[in-house]
């Protein structure tokens, strides 16, 4: 029996991603009277940061925008993900009830970022997890009361996760921040000009004070022992051995740029989508906002979302927003500079360290390969179930031959969805 043809919906503006940036974009575009559809993989709005606190009505920025979003006329497709872009201005979306094509005038990409994982001896052991991961697992019910956790990596996520874990009853034994004390200090002084950020930093500091963050330190290797994970930490010239139930590492964030690449947007270093001052990407019907254009936090996402929401619907872009954007982009650059990974940390893997976890490809197997094609033919690196989501950014960071190219589907989807045909 022939499959019933896949339905096609149309809109003026399609927003991919319902985090802070996508919400601001959708609200602003809808205010012009444009027909707006927002698609997000998750079952509720909010993205990485606003989603999980929805039990109580939220205050501040989150509360304002979530309230605004619930009041505007936007078609909301939660639990739906964009899996392919078969033609310009046409996207294939999969939801719980099947596939749908969405034809759009403009596309605003707000797909956010994910954690960067780095390989070091032992990183594939169970209970060695991401820093954002242990936070997410705790929010979804993991009981960390009395568990000893070592946090390691770089960036503002570490103190945020430390505070979260402490609140959940964990014993955070050590926080290793690879950035030097000098860099952190310079960054701290930079915050003096931004009262909001400084207040945030202060609150965090008060909450985690019982353990200090140790700058200039990083994990060297981890192994299983009778007393849990045995973690070796490099701290300046000294090495310490510590024991823990969990080693949670967060070395930074990398953009979820697969959809952007699929529709042809130019990406720059670090994989960030290149945009102009109104967040227009290199493809004329596409805008990119939020973490996708540079890691800068919620404020940057909200400002860029509003700018793109206006620009995509031919509304005049508020000059104040453009000024705020310039400041946010500067802050993002300061973050990137402060928490740039030192060479020692990028090169922790030894010859026997697994780089591609899905296919167990070790570093030794990757040396001497010329390009992405050879990589694929000889090693299967990046061809496992995670579709290079974990090892792709690692290859890039290690300067190894190219990340495998982006192909649809960019998210796991049903075969039936892939077979969907557009009826002209």
């Amino acid at each position: 029996m022939p499959e019933p043809s896949t339905p096609v919906e149309s809109c003026d503006v399609l927003v991919a991603g319902g985090g802070p940036a996508g919400i601001a974009a959708a609200c602003t575009a809808a205010a012009s009277g444009a027909a707006v559809i927002l698609v997000d993989d998750n079952s509720a709005p909010g993205g990485q940061i606003w989603r999980s606190r929805r039990k109580h009505p939220q205050k501040g920025l989150a509360g304002d925008w979530l309230a605004k979003f619930s009041a505007v006329t936007v078609r909301r497709l939660f639990g739906h993900r964009v899996v392919a872009a078969p033609q310009p201005r046409l996207l294939l979306v999969e939801g719980p009830d099947g596939a749908v094509f969405i034809r759009c005038g403009k596309l605003i990409l707000a797909t956010g970022a994910r954690e960067l994982f780095l390989p070091f001896p032992g990183w594939t052991l169970p209970n060695v997890v991401g820093a954002g991961a242990i936070q997410a697992l705790t929010k979804s019910g993991l009981d960390v009361r009395g568990k000893r956790v070592i946090l390691a990596g770089s960036g503002p996520l570490l103190p945020a996760v430390a505070a979260h874990l402490k609140h959940a009853g964990a014993d955070v034994a050590f926080i290793a921040e690879q950035a030097s004390a000098a860099k952190l200090l310079r960054f701290g002084f930079g915050l003096l000009g931004r009262s909001g950020k400084l207040r945030q930093a202060f609150t965090l500091w008060r909450r985690i004070r019982p353990w200090r963050i140790t700058p200039g330190s990083w994990p060297v290797c981890v192994e299983k022992s009778e007393s849990g994970l045995k973690v070796v930490i490099q701290s300046g010239v000294a090495r310490h051995t510590l024991y823990a139930d969990y080693l949670a590492c967060g070395f930074g964030l990398v953009p979820n740029n697969e959809l952007a690449i699929l529709v042809g947007c130019a990406v720059g270093s670090g994989g960030f989508v290149q945009v102009n001052h109104e967040n227009a990407a290199s493809v004329d019907w596409v805008y990119a906002v939020g973490e996708l254009t540079g890691i800068g936090g919620v404020e940057k996402g909200v400002v860029e979302g509003q700018i793109a929401g206006s620009a995509a619907t031919k509304q005049a872009v508020d000059r104040v927003l453009l000024r705020q954007r310039a400041a946010a982009v500067k802050f993002a650059a300061a973050l990137a500079d402060t928490f740039a990974l030192r060479a020692e940390v990028r090169n922790l893997a030894d010859a026997q360290t697994v780089i591609c976890r899905c296919e167990d490809v070790r570093l030794a197997a990757l040396s001497g390969l010329q390009d992405a094609r050879e990589l694929k033919l000889q090693t299967r690196c990046g061809m496992g179930p995670c579709q290079a989501r974990i090892c792709g950014p690692i290859l890039q960071l290690l300067g190894l031959p190219g990340q495998p190219s982006v192909r649809p589907p960019i998210q796991p989807c049903r075969l039936k969805t892939l077979a969907a045909q557009i009826k002209e």
Partner: protein, 82 residues
């Protein structure tokens, strides 16, 4: 107090609070190794957010279910390392 539900893991019964993710329930019950890699090394959840696929288990006969993205349900039959 959260409502308790029970599930079967590798044939044994465990209990969990209703509403938690399957990954969290399994870890709370003491499971550390969720599966093995192609070279038979033990693996467990890494990303906690549906990206790495390291937390996949078999649920009610269906393989490859990401436990970090799956809420627990009463009577679920789970197989680790299937």
């Amino acid at each position: 107090m959260a409502e308790k539900i029970s599930l079967l893991v590798n044939g044994g019964k465990i209990t969990a609070d209703a509403g938690v993710s399957l990954a969290a329930a399994l870890m709370n019950a003491g499971f550390v190794r969720f599966g093995t890699s192609v070279m038979a090394e033990p693996r467990g959840p890494l990303c906690g957010m549906g990206i790495c696929m390291a937390c996949r288990v078999q649920v009610n006969g269906q393989r490859g279910i990401r436990s970090c993205q799956t809420p627990v349900r009463e009577g679920m039959e789970v197989v680790l390392d299937a």
